[in-house]
């Protein structure tokens, strides 16, 4: 009886808060088909429910949560026991993701100081989707073409604003690694094994072990950003100390299987420690929007040691040592007829690192809306890659991503498009050129 009273009391107390909670979200199905003459197949079937809860229980308190329940379409059945599991999770693979869950405290202790505590996405930078200064939240590479998607991190974010100045300090105690796309994409994006095998080696299998940084004070990630507005231009400088979101092999062993040349590859991957000094700006010249963002990445020296199978001498290769600059220059404009153009020059894609591996990309998007904004046609979203300027004709790649979006009513969005990839061997898009796909996404918001 007493517990019932307590329950009623708690329920009554929570009613005012529950009344203030706004529940929203969306339902989305996302499907991709690999278009190939011989072996076309579905490569992606995701049905997800995203829930967003938001409340302002007090004037200076804001609560936000974003949760994603996903049904991943392909059964992961490898044996009869998978079919006998009562959870049915191998027949209906699913996942629950807590993308964000944080509290905002506005004007905390002093006017102008805002705190955000909890899991959150921290996005820096003025460039579109490709932000070399934004390193606190790792990139979510699960869908390679969802450029700029980020994962939440458990963090404390403090922003002190005194117009036009703002000072931001972020502390991320525990490192969260970036996710990777499926194997056929990640292999092209970021080969983990050496491209050339040692002499007298025939590979039988590979095994990768990934070690994330220990969750201790030494590995706490820190970000600081100072921003202001000068002559109607937004400027900021930033600093980040932490880790590269993608791992790199520090040890690779070729373990002999038998007396033949067969070997197993065992790689140990860790996250290189980096510091990033960044700067960005955004403004306009006449009516053209302009932005620039640059990041000087200062890596800790990273040496990869390779133990060949049949040779007594190990091989040491310094993969990271010299600081390197990644940057993005961009602009956008809307013509009188409503045609929107967005163009960016990118030096160093998200996953590229080291001064010798940075490549140049030119990305342009044309977009036009029709029929009271119900139809959006983006016939030309085009990314061109130049891997070597000495012979660009032999070192280019491109990705063409045409898309048609139709929103017949509010809260309903249908997107149909394609990824068309091609390029010379050795380029990012050239390595992916057999992965042309079409996609269909349907989203209902509520």
């Amino acid at each position: 009886m007493r517990s019932l009273k307590t329950l009623l009391y708690v329920a009554l107390l929570s009613m005012p808060l529950a009344a203030q909670v706004h529940l929203g979200g969306d339902l989305e199905t996302y499907n991709r088909y690999w278009v190939h003459a011989d072996s076309g197949r579905w490569t992606w079937n995701e049905n997800r429910l995203q829930l967003q809860l938001e409340a302002n229980p007090a004037e200076n308190l804001h609560l936000y949560g974003e949760f994603r329940l996903r049904a991943l379409g392909f059964p992961r059945v490898t044996g009869p026991s998978d079919l006998q599991r009562q959870q049915k999770d191998r027949v209906y693979p699913w996942a629950l993701e807590i993308r964000e869950a944080y509290a905002d405290l506005y004007d905390f202790l002093v006017p102008g100081l805002d705190l955000r505590l909890g899991r959150q996405v921290i996005a820096w930078g003025t460039a579109d989707k490709i932000n070399p200064t934004s390193n606190l939240s790792p990139y979510d590479y699960e869908d390679f073409f969802d450029f700029g998607a980020k994962l939440g991190v458990n963090a404390l974010r403090a922003i002190y604003t005194r117009d036009p100045w703002s000072l931001e300090v972020d502390v991320v105690p525990v490192f969260t690694p970036a996710t990777l796309p499926p194997a056929e994409w990640s292999g092209a994006m970021m080969p983990l094994a050496p491209s050339q095998l040692p002499p007298l080696t025939v590979l039988r299998s590979t095994h990768f072990a990934v070690a994330t940084p220990e969750p201790n004070a030494e590995n706490t990630q820190v970000g600081v950003k100072l921003g202001t507005t000068l002559a109607d231009w937004d400027l900021s400088v930033s600093y980040y100390r932490g880790f590269d979101g993608l791992p790199l092999a520090d040890t690779i062993r070729f373990v002999p299987v038998d007396t033949t040349l067969l070997s197993d590859l065992e790689a140990h991957l860790v996250y290189p420690r980096i510091q990033v000094f960044g700067a960005d700006l955004a403004g306009s010249f006449r009516s053209v929007g302009l932005w620039a963002e640059g990041a000087l990445v200062v890596p800790e020296t990273f040496v990869q040691v390779i133990y060949p199978a049949w040779q007594p001498l190990l091989v040491k290769d310094t993969l990271l040592e010299t600081p390197y600059l990644k940057f993005v220059l961009g602009g956008d404009y809307t013509f009188k007829n409503g045609l929107y153009v967005n163009a960016q020059y990118i030096h160093g894609f998200l996953h590229e690192r080291g001064p010798d591996s940075l490549r140049d990309y030119f990305v342009v998007r044309l977009e036009k809306r029709f029929h009271n904004d119900e139809v959006t046609l983006a016939p030309l979203t085009f990314a061109a890659e130049v891997a070597d300027w000495d012979a660009p004709g032999d070192h280019y790649g491109y990705a063409w991503i045409p898309e048609l979006k139709y929103a017949p009513t509010d809260n309903l969005e249908i997107r149909l498009g394609a990824f068309v990839l091609d390029g010379k061997p050795g380029t990012l898009f050239g390595r992916m050129k057999t992965h042309d796909e079409v996609f269909l996404r349907i989203k209902v918001s509520f």
């Binding site: 506005y106 805002d114 604003t161 932005w291 809307t334 009271n372 509010d410």
Partner: protein, 246 residues
Amino acid sequence: MKRWFLGYALMMAISVPVHAGLTAQEILAKVDSVMNAPRDRRVRMKMVLIDDAGHEKVRVAESYQKGDDHRLIRFLEPADQRGIAFLSLPNDVMYVYFPAFKKVRRIAAHVKNQTFAGTDFTYDDLSTFKYSEEYNPQLLAETDTAYVLKLTPKPGSDKDYAYLKMWVDKKTFHPLRTEFYDPSGNLWKVMTFRNITQIQGYWVAKEMEMQDLKRQHTTHMILEDIQVDTGIPDKVFTKRYLRRGV
């Protein structure tokens, strides 16, 4: 009798033709002062979008305005636009916040002539400005109840309209109707102000309708919960506030 008549005539001379002989510039200056009279204004805007087949869509937003050059609009409905916010500051400095990207994005003046969130209002229409700073007025006609002005964009202003025709209420100096003409001189849009009432001494049109004749599309805007001179702090019109949740 003669003294009484002289007194009456003098009184009429003072009170009735108060606005007689006003120049177009003076009329437009009064329009600006009426439109931007409150020190600040907070309203809830309901926008009903009606297409040529009569289908309706509804947008709901909250709007904060201070003076004639600070405005913040935040969408509450529909669900797929909830949280999108737009900040307009002096010198064409504009920002938009998309909750999905967690970023405040600077937008340049090229968007000014684009329609805002599917409505028939452009970003420029929803930004705050003074007509007299952007248009040269010419008095075309005068009826019993209204002045009719022709407003031509000043050289260098980036307007899509060749000119505007504005009917200004003689009593309140609030616009009653504005016609927007395209560069070919064809009538493009018509904005009608309705339900003009006084709130705390300020004339406010509680309803506006923007009709786009080319798109055959209409947006009916209804202002609700109008609050004026409540002392909205400057911090509301900042990127910091733009990032805040609904």
